[in-house]
């Protein structure tokens, strides 16, 4: 991956330069595809006015609150389902019914329940982000080596300690996968909710700009969303690398 990075950046630079040239030469209609310099200008204007920061804060706030709720609920429920067969039997049918439904379909329900404000966004994000976390936690718990659980038993750890000190850490690579998948799903849902029904956030800003035909602002908003997604993912990968350093060591060993 690493050695191709400079090449990748070079290509992006070339594409932007080509775009700029094409837009200026009139090869494309700048009303629909304004040159990057104009988009950058619009972005800067939005940033300088403080509007962009406000929308960014609204989006990240809903994202973080919904995501945190999903993480707490998903890990707890996944752990319980994995550990207690009766709870697994009870909940798995509901999970199997709800999970395949595209999460965006919950937005109308959320609007009915919560109106157009932040609580609606939080709910939508939490709902969508829940499933990958819940299911990956469940699979992780089910995949814990029985010998490790016997080890906990021979040292008389007890059910709760065994769950917290053995099952949870042993399942953590799976849980991390669920959490990583959900970072982007949560972002998709918060932006979608803002696009279709909200008065704040980056998604709303893009929609408002589009309805007012402020095309460079549309692009500036979309660009900001892309950067947010990229940064959130990078942040998560960095965190995961720190917390799960042991797991990378184990898998590297197994690969040898």
């Amino acid at each position: 991956m690493r050695p191709t990075r400079p090449l990748g950046y070079a290509l992006i630079g070339a594409l932007l330069a080509g775009w700029e040239a094409a837009a200026r030469a009139g090869a494309v209609n700048p009303a629909f595809l304004p040159p990057p310099s104009q988009i950058a200008g619009a972005w800067w204007a939005l940033w300088a006015s403080g509007q962009l920061a406000e929308h960014l804060a609204a989006t990240l706030g809903s994202w973080a609150q919904g995501y945190a709720l999903a993480a707490v609920l998903g890990v707890s429920l996944g752990l319980l389902m994995g550990l207690v067969p009766a709870i697994r039997a009870m909940l798995s049918t509901i999970v199997e019914l709800l999970r395949p439904m595209p999460s965006v379909a919950i937005i109308p329900v959320a609007i009915v329940l919560f109106g157009l404000g932040d609580p609606m966004k939080r709910f939508v994000v939490a709902y969508a982000a829940l499933w990958p976390i819940l299911l990956n936690t469940l699979y992780g718990v089910l995949a814990v080596d029985p010998l490790l659980l016997d080890t906990a038993r021979t040292f008389r750890l007890g059910a709760v300690r065994s769950a917290l000190r053995v099952t949870l850490p042993a399942a953590s690579p799976y849980i991390a996968t669920g959490l990583r998948i959900s970072t982007s799903i949560a972002l998709i849902l918060v932006i979608t909710a803002e696009l279709v029904a909200s008065r704040s956030g980056l998604g709303y800003a893009v929609r408002a700009a589009e309805q007012a035909s402020r095309v460079p602002e549309v692009y500036a908003g979309v660009l900001t969303i892309a950067v947010v997604g990229f940064l959130l993912n990078a942040l998560f990968v960095a965190l995961e690398g720190r917390v799960l350093a042991w797991h990378r060591g184990v898998t590297a060993r197994e690969a040898v």
Binding site: L148, T154, F155, P169, V250
Partner: protein, 273 residues
């Protein structure tokens, strides 16, 4: 041999697994006693239910009938003074914990003070020679070191009884000899009762006070051999003794006969399983 008080009593122990309507007898009728501070080795043909037996002894598995008595009290759950050391050290260690914290794993829920726990961790690591590796992770260690770590974890817990399930079975010959001597050393300096399951007859004779020979599955004790060899034992001197070779050959012949009989039995009655 001086008569020592009985610590562990295995009374007509039986374990039958029921799987999809079929019954498999893993342990038919085990009956034996283990004395205080005795080193007992158990050998038998492969698949003779040795692991099942240890799990029954450790209170990890309920017997179908019979019972295990520890100081006269039936074992129904893992007793506090007993620890099982597994063959598969790699799967039994916590990969996310450093060496020292793996040992600490056995102590975190005990009544000992933090200072006492630290002292126990340090002591256990020094006994098995892993003090320098305390901040390493298990997967950074060799197989022999990982098994030493598992033994250190068990020792730190301070059990009166160590149950060991083919602990050196997957190690190379030199590492294995090294760990056998370390184990004898530990046992000499901090006496405890050890029930050591192995498929290696020479290992059993070399380590133990007494060797139980199990039949092919379903297991019963077919013979008990008291090993009257001088201690401390030595990898070269002990194994060169005529008596050592005699014990080894005797047990070897006995197990071979067991395997042959089991095969003949299986031929005679193929439907029984």
């Amino acid at each position: 041999m001086v008569a020592r008080p009985v610590l562990l009593e295995v009374v007509h122990l039986q374990k039958v697994y029921a799987q999809r309507g079929r019954q498999t007898v893993a342990v038919r009728d085990l009956h034996f006693r283990v004395a205080e501070n005795e080193f007992l080795a158990v050998v038998g043909p492969s698949g003779c239910g040795k692991t099942t037996m240890l799990r029954l002894l450790a209170g990890l598995l309920p017997p179908t009938s019979g019972q295990v008595l520890l100081r006269g009290q039936p074992v129904t759950a893992p007793p506090p003074e007993m620890v099982l050391v597994f063959q598969d050290y790699g799967r039994s260690l916590c990969a996310w914990r450093s060496v020292a914290r793996n040992v600490q794993f056995a102590l975190e829920h005990t009544r000992w003070s933090a200072a006492e726990r630290r002292a126990r961790v340090d002591h256990a690591l020094s006994i098995v020679g892993l003090s320098e590796f305390r901040d390493h992770y298990p997967w950074e260690l060799s197989g022999g070191m990982q098994q030493r770590l598992q033994i250190a974890r068990a020792l730190a817990y301070g059990p009166r009884i160590l149950l060991m399930d083919e602990p050196f079975g997957s190690l190379d010959a030199l590492t294995r000899a090294d760990l056998e001597d370390q184990l004898l050393d530990i046992w000499t300096h901090e006496p405890k009762t050890i029930v050591f399951v192995t498929h290696d007859i020479e290992e059993a004779v070399y380590l133990a006070d007494r060797v139980l020979v199990l039949s092919a599955r379903p297991s019963v004790v077919v013979e008990e051999v008291v090993i009257d060899l001088p201690r401390p034992r030595d990898q070269i001197a002990t194994r060169s003794l005529e008596a050592f070779v005699r014990y080894r050959n005797h047990i070897f012949t006995r197990i071979r006969r067991e395997v042959a009989q089991a095969a003949a039995g299986a031929l005679a009655a193929p439907a029984v399983s």
